[in-house]
């Protein structure tokens, strides 16, 4: 049996569990909305992104540490790989999006500032989508005009992300009122 070690770890157990929980919730929520609302329904496309981004805002409020977006992106991609087998090519890109998002939050005020968190999450969302569009381009490069439809869908989705930034803040406020999230 290994010796018990009292080591000060950067990531606390509860923080890692919260990240995993929210990654699960985002995955299930996105699936649910896509199934219930119809995958190509623009309203459900926007809603899916509103919900996902709102959850991400709640997550960064709960785990205010450098690396939260990176770790979230990594876990999401890893589990998607295990469950769905794709998109291994996007994994490095998602990590970069996470690092850039986290870096942006650090440089623009830190994790204690609400607007830095919001902008960081917004940037993370934007980069993630840009990377997935880049992957789509490689897939359809013989007929790049096909990408236009993908770009329109991504753009519609991103409006959901932008709305989600605001709704996320409102939701955090409500959770504070409920005593579930504290400052």
């Amino acid at each position: 049996m290994s010796k018990p070690v009292r080591k000060k770890r950067y990531w606390q157990t509860r923080e890692l569990i919260v990240i995993g929980t929210f990654a699960a919730l985002t995955k299930v929520a996105s699936l649910l909305i896509a199934i219930a609302g119809g995958g190509m329904n623009p309203v459900s496309l926007v809603l899916k992104n509103i919900v996902a981004t709102s959850l991400l805002i709640v997550l960064v409020y709960k785990v205010r540490k450098f690396g939260v977006l990176t770790l979230y992106a990594l876990i999401n991609s890893l589990v998607s790989l295990l469950f769905l087998g794709g998109n291994v090519m996007a994994l490095p890109g998602m990590l970069i999006a996470g690092i850039v998002g986290d870096g942006f939050i650090m440089m623009t005020g830190g994790y204690k500032r609400a607007w830095a968190l919001v902008l960081g999450v917004g940037l993370f969302d934007l980069l993630s989508r840009a990377i997935s569009l880049g992957y789509s381009y490689l897939t359809v490069r013989e007929e790049p005009r096909l990408l236009i439809m993908a770009a329109i869908i991504v753009a519609i989705g991103y409006t959901g992300c932008l709305l989600g930034l605001g709704s996320g803040l409102l939701f955090v406020k409500e959770l504070r009122h409920a005593g579930i999230v504290r400052e």
Binding site: S2, V18, T21, A36, G38, I75, L81, L82, L146
Partner: protein
């Protein structure tokens, strides 16, 4: 995905694909997606598309597979239709030539087939075991394990929440989502988010009390070894992928 919400006893009655280790299927997916991305020739892509279709159909979930194909066909046709409209409205974009659609279509087919084979045949429990076998550092293993642990839980919670809404006269369907999006989202997601936050707290407490963080390294009780079927499947997949690459680049190589 059906297997996520089915919390059945682990069954020993498995098809050929189900007997493959999750790592093997993951590796096939990963390699296929990389190779398919770089191939451009119709013939190598077609060979891989047919091989991947056989691989998916070996799962014997024909309905799901063909419905997925139907969905891809519909999306493909819609995309082609949009391109056609664009070329008519903006002639400077050039003409639409059908042969340029083949390679993208075949790539998507390959990806969908290998993904379906993984998604339809993997049980949550085996994915959790596969995760352990990867021997990842705790900072990655723990949240990933939690995510896998909670996915079936949240699916059950959402079903119960939907039922409670049905009791109150609310129905979650495309119409309600389209015409009452904000109310529908509130009704559905406020309870589940609160539940998620409470569940994560409780699990974190349980993890601490069970000794997570006690030791520098955690041990792994159960890991699965790769079987002959895995090596065979891996060998076949690698041969096909290499063959497709050779086919593609034979002019450059020879």
């Amino acid at each position: 995905m059906p297997v996520l919400s089915e919390n059945r006893k682990i069954s020993k009655d498995l098809s050929i694909i189900q007997r493959l280790d999750v790592r093997t299927k993951m590796a096939i997916c990963a390699l296929s997606s990389i190779v398919a991305l770089f191939l451009e020739g119709i013939y190598p892509l077609s060979i891989l598309a047919v091989a991947s279709m056989v691989y998916a159909l070996l799962h014997k979930r024909f309905v799901v597979v063909f419905v997925s194909y139907g969905a891809i066909l519909v999306m493909g046709l819609m995309a082609a239709f949009c391109v056609k409209i664009m070329t008519l409205v903006m002639p400077e974009m050039g003409k639409m030539e059908i042969q340029f659609f083949f390679s993208p279509f075949l790539r998507v087919m390959i990806l969908v087939n290998v993904i379906l084979a993984l998604a339809l045949s993997s049980r949550v429990q085996s994915i959790l075991t596969a995760l352990k076998t990867l021997r990842l550092p705790l900072v990655i293993y723990l949240p990933a394990a939690v995510m896998i642990r909670f996915i079936p839980s949240f699916i059950v919670d959402i079903k119960q929440i939907s039922e409670s809404l049905k009791i109150r006269g609310y129905h979650i369907n495309p119409l309600t989502i389209t015409f009452h999006p904000l109310l529908t989202m509130r009704l559905l997601f406020v309870p589940i988010v609160v539940r998620a936050l409470r569940s994560s707290d409780e699990l974190a407490i349980a993890a601490e009390l069970k000794g997570l963080g006690y030791s520098e390294k955690i041990s792994y009780y159960k890991t699965t070894a790769l079987s002959l079927a895995d090596y065979c499947a891996g060998g076949v997949a690698t041969t096909l992928l290499c063959g497709a690459c050779l086919f593609e680049y034979q002019d450059k190589l020879f």
